[in-house]
């Protein structure tokens, strides 16, 4: 049972006050739609850079990376070393000149400038739907976690409210806060709060890692406590059978690094919007590079708690008998079966009907990896700093939500409303639409969160559909920016074909030990993958390849746009900006090289 005291609540309330305070302080500066949707394109690079990774540092990241650390060990760091850093360098150096330089207000708008209206419509619609659902999923996960940790139980008990209301209370509270600060301060408010949350995550998780490491006997103690494969990022990666994730080097390099990582960091407006908000081209290019520096160090912060949780001794019910002045005391600590059946601090999953731990196909208890990081917080933090840790957790959920909501209101207003519903209205009108789109987006997210309660599989299914839509995206942008011959028809056909290829691949393959259905194989099972991760990576490779080939073939068969129209949108037709006025070490390229060297060093350390 969680015992929160007044100090914990004080810290949590203080955070909420600052979050809302920033919204109110920024309200009077929101004069035009550019201020509201694009933060006036006036923010310094370091703020945008921290917001760039923070927008991604939502629930999925903090809880999910801890869970993955507990399940797969240090191999999870591939999501950083391979899955993020190279893509962040690429988007900063090579792609940002076109995003920022084209003066597009959103990623779909860039697609209209480069290709045509239908490609933009396709991307805008699928993106708008995905952001709403993602923030709903984030909301649902947060409410579930709050329930599982009993954060509000004491409060509800004190107020005499029924504990069934905790789910709704968590959702309404987080939705109201996010809504209010975005409604007031737009993207600036979201970005400022993302930076606040970035520092809060460090403040909450760094002491956790330090205490956890100290308990287990430092780095060498951790190495001794977990299986050897857990502590290597690269060893055994040549073959699927010799590493915990069951993927091999091609799947990781091509699937995760080239397709999925780049697809996310280089094309997702959720992160790109922060870079597009910076004050000039050099800053915009520096944004993803600045973001890459803390990103390199985040495995220590978010993956290590999961590995530590597995490595620590599993708590058991114990009775200690002690004799004090002739009186015999029995100190009994009882732990629940789910804790005792678990591994380390990771509890077993309990079947809610029978109350017995759930078993895998091979008879091992099924572990609830998502509880790894939260349980670490509860295990090591005394009241006081515990409030800080929980606040950091809540903050990460809310900023993940906020990034989705600002991306949604921009794409909805500029790419859907202004383009197809009402053209040529006043700027003031579009700003009002953006504000109400924020309200609408949050209401839809709440609906998604409630739908997730009633339909068990909805989260898996949604994420699956997103992966179909996202997998081929990077090919479209790559062709668009670096091949002047690529046409709108080609891009559109490629996107559709890529998504179809992803669906087909999923319908025909299955990870071993999984049942057909949401895990794959719903057409016929032609191939078995060693893990769902491998299936995911290879699916992305197929989607990317199909999109690439179809887009090239269709482009060659259709009429290209005149080159004069593509200046500033395609690499070969865009004059190089004069950079002689910047000292060499201040240029984005120099920073990129430094980041690359750092990333290689971190990978060698984790080898």
């Amino acid at each position: 049972m969680l015992n929160l005291t007044a100090v914990d609540w004080l810290i949590m309330v203080l955070y909420f006050v600052f979050v809302l305070g920033i919204g109110f302080a920024l309200k009077r500066h929101m004069k035009t739609s550019k201020d509201f949707f694009q933060a006036g394109r006036a923010l310094p690079a370091w703020i945008c850079g921290l917001a760039f990774i923070s927008a991604n540092l939502g629930a999925q990241e903090v809880i999910g990376m801890g869970a993955s650390g507990a399940k797969y060990g240090l191999e999870t760091a591939h999501f950083y070393g391979i899955g993020a850093i190279p893509a962040m360098i690429f988007v900063g150096i090579f792609m940002m000149p076109f995003y920022y330089g084209s003066k597009a207000r959103s990623v779909p708008e860039f697609l209209r400038m480069r290709f045509d209206e239908k490609t933009r419509a396709l991307n805008a619609c699928s993106f708008a739907v995905m952001t709403v659902f993602s923030s709903g999923i984030s909301m649902y996960a947060m409410a579930r976690l709050i329930q599982a940790l009993h954060v509000f139980d004491g409060l509800f008990h004190a107020l005499g409210w029924a504990p069934e209301g905790i789910f709704t209370f968590s959702i309404v509270l987080s939705a109201a806060i996010v809504l209010l600060y975005i409604f007031l301060g737009g993207l600036t408010s979201a970005i400022y709060n993302e930076v606040l949350q970035f520092f809060l995550i460090i403040a909450g998780f760094l002491p956790l890692v330090l205490i956890g490491l100290r308990n287990i006997g430092g780095w060498s103690g951790l190495k001794a406590a977990v299986p050897m494969a857990y502590m290597h990022e690269w060893k055994g990666v040549a073959h699927a059978s010799t590493n915990p994730m069951g993927i091999e080097i091609i799947g990781i390099g091509m699937g995760l690094g080239f397709v999925l990582g780049s697809g996310y960091w280089c094309t997702d407006f959720l992160v790109i919007q922060t870079a597009m908000a910076s004050k000039n081209m050099e800053s915009a290019r520096r944004v993803p590079l600045i973001a890459a520096v803390p990103k390199m160090l985040f495995p220590f912060l978010v993956i290590l708690p999961g590995i530590l949780a597995i490595g620590l001794p599993t708590p058991h019910s114990t009775t200690v008998v002690r004799n004090e002045n002739g009186v015999i005391y029995h100190d009994t600590t009882v732990v629940s079966p789910q804790v005792e059946q678990g591994r380390g601090l990771v509890p077993a999953k309990i079947n809610p009907v029978t109350g017995k731990p759930m078993l895998t196909a091979s008879g091992q208890p099924l572990l609830d990896y998502d509880m790894a990081t939260p349980n670490m917080l509860l295990h090591f933090f005394p009241t006081g700093i515990l409030g800080l840790g929980l606040t950091a957790l809540l903050a990460s959920f809310m900023s993940g939500m906020a990034g989705n909501v600002t991306a949604f209101n921009t794409v909805f207003t500029y790419d859907l409303y202004q383009s197809y519903i009402r053209k040529g209205a006043s700027d003031r009108h579009y700003m009002a639409v953006g504000r109400w789109a924020t309200v609408g987006g949050i209401l839809l997210s709440i609906a998604t969160a409630y739908a997730a309660i009633n339909f068990n599989n909805i989260m898996d299914t949604l994420q699956l559909v997103f992966s179909f839509v996202n997998a081929p995206l990077f090919a479209t942008f790559l062709l668009g920016m670096f091949w002047k011959r690529a046409t709108g028809h080609g891009a559109f056909a490629g996107l559709i074909a890529g998504t179809a290829a992803a669906m087909l691949h999923h319908g025909l393959t299955l990870p071993i030990e999984a049942r057909t259905g949401v895990h794959g194989g719903w057409i016929a099972v032609l191939h078995h993958y060693p893990s769902d991760m491998a299936q995911n990576f290879w699916g992305a490779i197929f989607a990317f390849g199909t999109n690439f080939i179809v887009a090239v073939v269709v482009s060659l068969a259709t009429r290209p746009r005149p080159e004069a129209e593509l200046v500033g949108l395609v690499h070969s037709l865009t004059p190089k900006p004069a950079r002689a006025h910047i000292t060499w070490w201040k240029r984005p390229e120099a920073l990129a090289v430094a980041v690359l060297v750092g990333a290689i060093a971190v990978n060698i350390f984790f080898y």
């Binding site: 203080l14 035009t32 550019k34």
Partner: protein, 85 residues
Amino acid sequence: MILDLRVPLGLMFSLVGLILTVFGLKTNGDAVLYAPSLGINANLWWGLVLLVFGLTMLLLGRRGQKRLENAPPELPEEGQQRRGH
């Protein structure tokens, strides 16, 4: 930029640091409370770290804010029309 972010950031961390430090001092030596954190007074030590971080940010931010208010409005990027702030 209209509000130097380091001001609210520094203020918040200074306050959180202060709360943790004071609470840590008050509960110093409480063996039961600090049993989970291996006997380390995590509140006091981490509170001090956050306090120093918060005050540094606050100082830098106030300096930055003053510069923002005194400086002439930033020149727009070449060829780009600027509206609002």
